[in-house]
């Protein structure tokens, strides 16, 4: 039987990072003890990022410029999917230009959805798959979870050619143990006492699932090289290592610079570990939630042949740090600020038009004129070149999403309503000749300049808060320096 396993991986962490000291300082009057947690930074989503956009970015990191052909399925795991009834994964399929013969599946509902999704995907075979997990858990201001939570996404390519990690064991346990919950109509998690979760939950349930997975793999804890255990509770992984008798490498919790990224977190940690893994390494990945999931992977020789675009380490290094705590609150809907009358416009999207232009909009597809070669976005009925004007029927389709581009002109606009002022808006000139006016996002303290290199990012173009609909499109963002 042909081997089937992980053939690639990628990661995404939002560029925006908040210094935890700023959170603690804001709550000093009511929660002075938060100061003890006020170390490092946590990632947070910009107003235009959600679990779909983060998942798309992680997938782009894993796919690079490789052909999308042959990917037959995409699974998206998250507990913060923007839609309750609208296949979120299909939006990712469109953005990634995977074509139409792709099976999209959304997996949700618990902190182990990401790892369970990966384990189930690895039990399949046949066509290539993408397993994506993304989360942006939301915490009430001044709780310890606000300090612990972050945001991020991970992506795994699965297939039978170039397997870099194979599954050698897995197990799942279902338990009526409710450490926390969030009902469908609530914004925040409700947690029980940490000591109970750790002692009665983690310490008793996880060793059982690990034992079952080790049995399936036919190995002992001492044969493992790395333990990946995700939890927003500090020190949990080390405690589990002691319980199962493992004294190898306990994977870093990513607390210092990312924070806990919900159901994506074990996969984000795994993506980070694979960046450093050697052939023969055996990695145990654990996720907890109404029971637990354990997955044991064995790294193959092919690990040396795969490199993500920039990987977890590149994503972490590419950051814009801030101490603006209220900015995070505003982006997460915790602060209803006065945005003025200009914010009162309607954001209603014509779904009919959205469907007519789905290819152009979702995968940022420009047309290249067959007569004169002009690359143009948007594509209208005739070529834009005044010397040509050939019908669009002769255009070939070119996605601009990975094309290099630069700032031609720009301005920071303080007048328009924009959830993260100022709105940087300017002309983006692509090396292949296309040009359009775009929003430029995640601009750091150094600002922009004419000629600044840009990359494209899939983002929420505009939310329709009245109807609860996000329209997505591509924006430009400065290429990270040093990443």
């Amino acid at each position: 039987m042909t081997e089937y396993g992980i053939t690639g991986y990628g990661a995404y962490v939002p560029r925006l990072r908040l210094e935890r000291a700023a959170i603690a300082a804001a709550h000093k009057w009511m929660a002075p003890n938060l100061r003890g947690l006020a170390k490092g930074e946590r990632a947070f989503c910009s107003w235009d990022e959600d679990s779909i956009t983060m998942a798309v970015e992680a997938a782009r990191d894993a796919l690079g410029t490789d052909s999308r052909e042959g990917i037959g399925a995409l699974t998206l795991a998250s507990t913060t999917l923007p839609y309750a009834d609208l296949q979120n994964s299909v939006i990712a399929i469109g953005a990634l230009a995977l074509g139409h013969l792709v099976s999209g599946t959304d997996v949700a509902g618990s902190q182990r959805a990401g790892l369970s999704g990966l384990a189930r995907a690895m039990e399949m075979s046949g066509s290539n798959q993408l397993m994506l997990a993304a989360d942006r858990p939301r915490a009430k201001p001044a709780g310890t979870l606000e300090m612990a939570y972050g945001a991020g996404a991970a992506a795994f390519r699965l297939g039978s050619e170039g397997v870099i990690a194979r599954k050698i064991g897995s197990a799942t346990i279902a338990e009526q143990f409710i450490d926390h919950f969030r009902s469908a109509d609530h914004d925040h998690d409700y947690f029980w006492e940490e000591r109970w979760i750790r002692d009665e939950g983690y310490a008793k349930i996880i060793p059982r699932v690990v034992s079952a997975a080790l049995d399936q793999a036919g190995i002992a804890a001492g044969d493992l090289s790395t333990l990946v255990m995700a939890s927003p509770l500090k020190g949990s992984a080390e405690m589990i290592a002691r319980k199962i008798g493992f004294d190898g490498k306990v994977s870093d919790s990513l607390n210092d610079d990312v924070g806990y990224a919900g159901t994506a977190h074990p996969l984000l940690m795994l993506a980070s570990e694979l960046e450093q893994a050697k052939p023969g390494d055996r990695i145990l990945v654990i996720a907890f939630g109404q029971g637990a999931e354990a997955l044991i992977l064995e790294v193959t020789d092919a690990i040396a042949d795969f490199k993500p675009q920039r990987g977890f380490s590149g994503a972490v290094a590419d950051k814009v740090s801030t101490t603006d705590y209220l900015r995070m609150l505003s982006f997460y809907g915790e602060l209803d600020a006065e945005w003025g009358m200009r914010s009162e416009k309607t954001g209603k999207a014509a779904l009919t038009n959205l469907y007519r232009e789905a290819d152009q909009l979702s995968a940022f597809v420009a047309g290249k004129c067959g007569s004169c070669g002009t690359v143009q976005f948007p594509q209208l009925a005739y070529c834009v070149n005044p010397e040509c004007k050939a019908p669009a029927a002769g255009f070939t389709q070119v996605s601009l999403s990975d094309e290099p581009a630069k700032v031609l002109t720009f301005t920071p606009d303080w007048l328009s309503y924009y959830p993260s002022p100022p709105l940087y808006v300017g002309f983006v000139q692509f090396d292949i000749g296309a040009r359009l006016l775009m929003e430029i996002v995640d601009v750091g303290p150094d600002g922009l300049d004419e000629g600044t290199p840009l990359r494209m990012a899939y983002r929420i173009k505009e939310p329709d808060t009245q109807r609860g609909f996000n329209r997505y499109f591509w924006k430009a963002t400065p290429v990270a320096t040093g990443a």
């Binding site: 009358m341 200009r342 009919t352 209208l380 301005t411 606009d413 040009r435 359009l436 004419e450 329209r471």
Partner: protein, 398 residues
């Protein structure tokens, strides 16, 4: 090119409301104010008007769409009234419609009126326009100053102008308009503004500060046009005729192809070429007596003077700093204070500019009067520099 309309249409009368924040007046009041002045100036009765072209740009804060609001406000009973909209070129488009009707012989006397009520929004600046269902899905919605601010980087990059020099030149643009506006009783703002205040004003869209932006106001302006023969038969001696009205609209070249460098407005150049050909102007720098151009933002006016061929390419910074466009310079620009002092009730502006040229040509501009001007140019720029509409009208003595 076709023969054009040079000297085929004369201005019989014009009117202009006071521009400003008219909390106590609706669009209908503003229209009637301009209309009554124009009727008196033309020396005709309302019923002598054969057809009307009415421009209004923003439906959502004005009187709504169609020609009905103008027809009911002015009681234009039983005649054809056309409503049109072409962004900031709307007023000039109304004049073009009326002029073409007269030139064709279809009507004897036609009315062009533009009116806009912007101060019913509840906030400063212009409301965001609807871009269409498809554009809405991808095109970022920057503000008007953000659209025009793109010119600054493009201009600096092309001519190697420093940020400081360009800021100084565009500050001069606004400064001289405020100096001029003091003498315009119908202007919204009639105070000089010190250069320091202009240079240090809060930023709206870099490098445009608050004083680099035109005002927002309510207003209306109108023209009554006829043939030179009818004008003379009605007793007019000094005639102002239309020498040219031309437009150019973006087809996507600047915003989609990679040629445009952001330093100029292609549409203004195209429209100017056509207008100069129609009017028979070969050397605009020496032939144009005064210019009322679209100073929605200071950078727009600076670039426009190069696009019109009055300054040479890259030469506008020096021309402005030298006072070339000041009231005592060779080509006074915005002698009435421009959009800067009048504000910019969208559909009224083109006709307001023509009104000033008309008064100047007839020697009726009072304290603003220039010495024997013979050709007055007005220019509008709708939309944004890279996706918009340029309109030019040239008036002169017959």
């Amino acid at each position: 090119m076709a023969k054009g309309i040079k000297d085929k249409v004369a201005i019989l009368g014009m009117g202009c409301s006071k521009f400003g924040e008219h909390w106590d007046k609706g669009t209908e009041d503003l229209m009637s104010e301009a209309f009554e002045e124009a009727l008196a100036d033309a020396g005709i009765e309302r019923d002598q008007i054969d057809a009307a072209w009415y421009g209004s740009a923003l439906d959502n804060v004005n009187v709504g769409n169609s020609a009905i609001p103008a027809s009911t406000a002015l009681r234009l009973d039983g005649i054809p009234v056309t409503r049109l909209e072409n962004m900031c070129a709307t007023g000039t488009e109304a004049l073009r419609g009326a002029a073409y009707a007269v030139a064709s012989g279809a009507v004897d006397i036609a009315l062009a009126i533009g009116a806009e009520k912007l101060k019913d929004t509840g906030y400063g600046g212009l409301p965001a326009p609807f871009k269409g269902t498809f554009n809405d899905l991808w095109l970022p919605l920057g503000s008007a100053p953000a659209g025009f601010a793109q010119l600054a980087g493009g201009y600096r990059h092309r001519y190697g102008t420093s940020k400081e020099d360009l800021k100084k030149a565009i500050a001069h643009v606004s400064w001289k308009s405020h100096v001029n506006g003091v003498h315009s009783p119908k202007a919204h703002f009639r105070k000089e503004v010190p250069m320091e205040k202009i240079l240090n004003a809060p930023m709206i869209a870099d490098p445009l500060g608050i004083f680099d932006c035109s005002g927002v106001s309510d207003g209306s302006a109108c023209a009554i046009v006829t043939t030179p023969e009818i004008a003379r038969a009605l007793g007019k001696k000094d005639l102002v005729t239309i020498k040219a009205i031309q437009l150019s609209i973006s087809s996507g070249v600047e915003s989609t192809m990679s040629d445009w460098d952001g330093s100029h407005v292609r549409n203004t150049r195209n429209a100017a070429k056509r207008a100069y050909e129609e009017a028979g102007i070969t050397d605009p720098r020496s032939q144009i007596s005064l210019a009322e151009v679209h100073d929605c933002f200071s950078i727009t006016e600076l670039v426009t003077m190069e696009d019109l061929g009055i300054s040479e390419d890259g030469g506008a910074v020096k021309d402005y700093l030298d006072g070339f466009y000041d009231r005592d310079g060779p080509v006074p620009c915005q002698i009435d204070g421009g959009l800067k002092c009048f504000g910019h009730p969208i559909a009224a502006s083109g006709l307001r500019m023509a009104y000033e040229n008309y008064l100047q040509l007839l020697g009726r501009a009072g304290p603003r009067q220039l010495e024997s001007p013979s050709i007055g140019l007005s220019h509008n720029l709708g939309g944004v520099p890279y996706l918009g509409i340029a309109a030019i009208s040239i008036l002169g003595l017959a």
